[in-house]
């Protein structure tokens, strides 16, 4: 209880004092998770719209699979990517393990199914006639996708924000792939995990509050962008 109040106070202090360490990991968190959200959206939104637009055998199965991958534990993604990127793994030569780039890759993989699945379900509520109208206006496959994504932009933005939220809040992959190296790959969540394991609960909570603050800012900004 006390620690929560204490955490709020510390959070305010950290923000006001512009603690350079905290600023550094906050910026890194943002950089990594925004990048991952961007790349994942680039793949997931068109993919989701494609799945929505086209009737094909096994569509239902693909959707089920995507929804199953909602339950993909971050540690497992972290492990799999780790095994790929590790020195003895097939992509070891890239030297991406324990780098922010590696963390971006892992988070991107983590949230692609999420954003794709949510895109499909966001679009599922759209009238059949809307789809017909788009097609009959002579759209190409790509144009259809862009139009429908724009039409459902509120729900699509929600999907992207969820992806971002998941990325910036997750600790499993960034811990395994980034390694929580101070000054290099430490991000807010790994710092929170570290401080928790050290028993610095109020500091953890302070960092958590900062993380939520950052998410709120991203949220508001993206909402404003969406409304143009």
């Amino acid at each position: 209880m006390n620690e929560i109040v204490q955490g709020f106070i510390e959070a305010i202090e950290l923000i006001l004092s512009l603690d350079p360490d905290v600023i550094e990991i906050t910026v890194r968190s943002l950089y990594v998770s925004l990048s991952a959200t961007f790349f994942a959206s680039l793949v997931a939104l068109p993919l989701g719209a494609y799945i929505y637009f086209n009737e094909f055998r096994g569509k239902r199965a693909v959707i089920n699979l995507l929804q199953t991958l909602y339950a993909l534990p971050t540690v497992i993604v972290g492990l799999a990517v780790f095994l790929m990127l590790s020195r003895s793994g097939p992509f070891g030569f890239l030297g991406m393990l324990f780098t922010p780039q590696g963390m971006i890759v892992a988070q991107t993989i983590l949230i692609i199914p999420l954003i794709t699945g949510l895109t499909v379900s966001a679009l599922s509520g759209i009238d059949r006639e809307m789809r017909y109208t788009i097609i009959s206006l002579g759209s190409s496959q790509l144009q259809s996708i862009i139009t429908i994504l724009r039409e459902a932009r509120f729900a699509i933005l929600a999907a992207v924000l969820l992806g971002f939220g998941r990325a910036i809040a997750e600790v499993g992959t960034v811990m395994l792939i980034g390694g929580n190296i101070r000054g290099f790959t430490r991000v807010l969540t790994t710092a929170i995990a570290l401080n928790t394991s050290m028993g610095n609960f109020s500091f953890s909570i302070a960092l958590g509050i900062i993380l939520l603050g950052v998410a709120l800012v991203v949220n508001v900004v993206l909402n404003l962008v969406q409304e143009r």
Partner: protein
Amino acid sequence: MIEAQNITKIYGEMEVLHGVDLSVGEGDIMGIIGPSGSGKSTFLRILDLIEPPDSGDLSLFDVNVVKERDRVVEVRRRMGMLFQKPIVFNTSVYENVALGLKYRHVGKNEIDRSVKELLEEVGLARYLHSNARNLSGGEQQRVSLARVLVTDPEILFLDEPTANLDPKSSKTIERLVTRMNRDRGMTVVMNTHDMLQGQRVAQRIGVMIGGDILQVGSPREIFYAPESTKIANFVGVDNIHDGKVLRREHQITAVEVAGTILYVGESPPEQSDRVKVIFRGEDVTLGIGKTAQTSARNILNGTIAEISDIAPFVHIKVDCGFPVSALVTVRSAEEMDLSEGKPAWVSIKASALHLIAESEESEG
């Protein structure tokens, strides 16, 4: 231009179209009328390549689109369709109408010009920047129409284009469509449940009932000489009577209906003597007192059995041995001071009577 042969469509376990044939020439305006649920919208969706037929052949612009699936987008871009349910996108009216042109990579200035011009035509210029979702039902329908017309399609499919519009707006739309048909040779296929619209706009009309196109012909043929009682019923023919062909002389056929002989200005159907004699209520002239001198060949005396207001007409049933329905304007009904039980005469020109072979009617 459009050649559809033996098109069938099955939804679930229900066959909605049973082998429909239709051919529409370049520059034609073809109307399709038919009862609710008869398959009109389904057929139009198939023609516009929105849904594939389950069987049958379809060629558009001489492209066999059933076989050449890869040319579908290309063909589709030469056509446009207004759907029955008007769909507007959650953006400005301008963006809505510009969409099809953007798909076709038309230049910004030209889009601007065309969009504004068309919105002017459909009377929505002042809503340019409104969100289309906030428009009224009729306004949304006009946005949808403008969105199609702006792409200047060679074939235009319209599914109930004026369902949500008042008569004045409907007229505007009708004029716009007929003008584009005349000026640009645009081919139009239009579903409509507004019979008058069908007569006003279409050069030819197809009647779809229960998943089949039963008759295709000029509005005149459809409304005055329907080929079956099913169609006659649907197009609002009030008088349908059993008759027996007695003889045929000088281009005139004599038919007996309930003991009365009617002279019909056309030859009887080949198959049988048993026929249906049909004629429209508005072709019946009604009079009181002494019989007027008209060129109508059939003059029958009777008594008024029933008067009902189906504004702006009065519907009068006269018992002449068999019931004859006549439509007269409210004014003339008043003038004649009609009342039930009053004697009256009806007169029907021989050319207004039409014969249908009875055998066709077994289902009906």
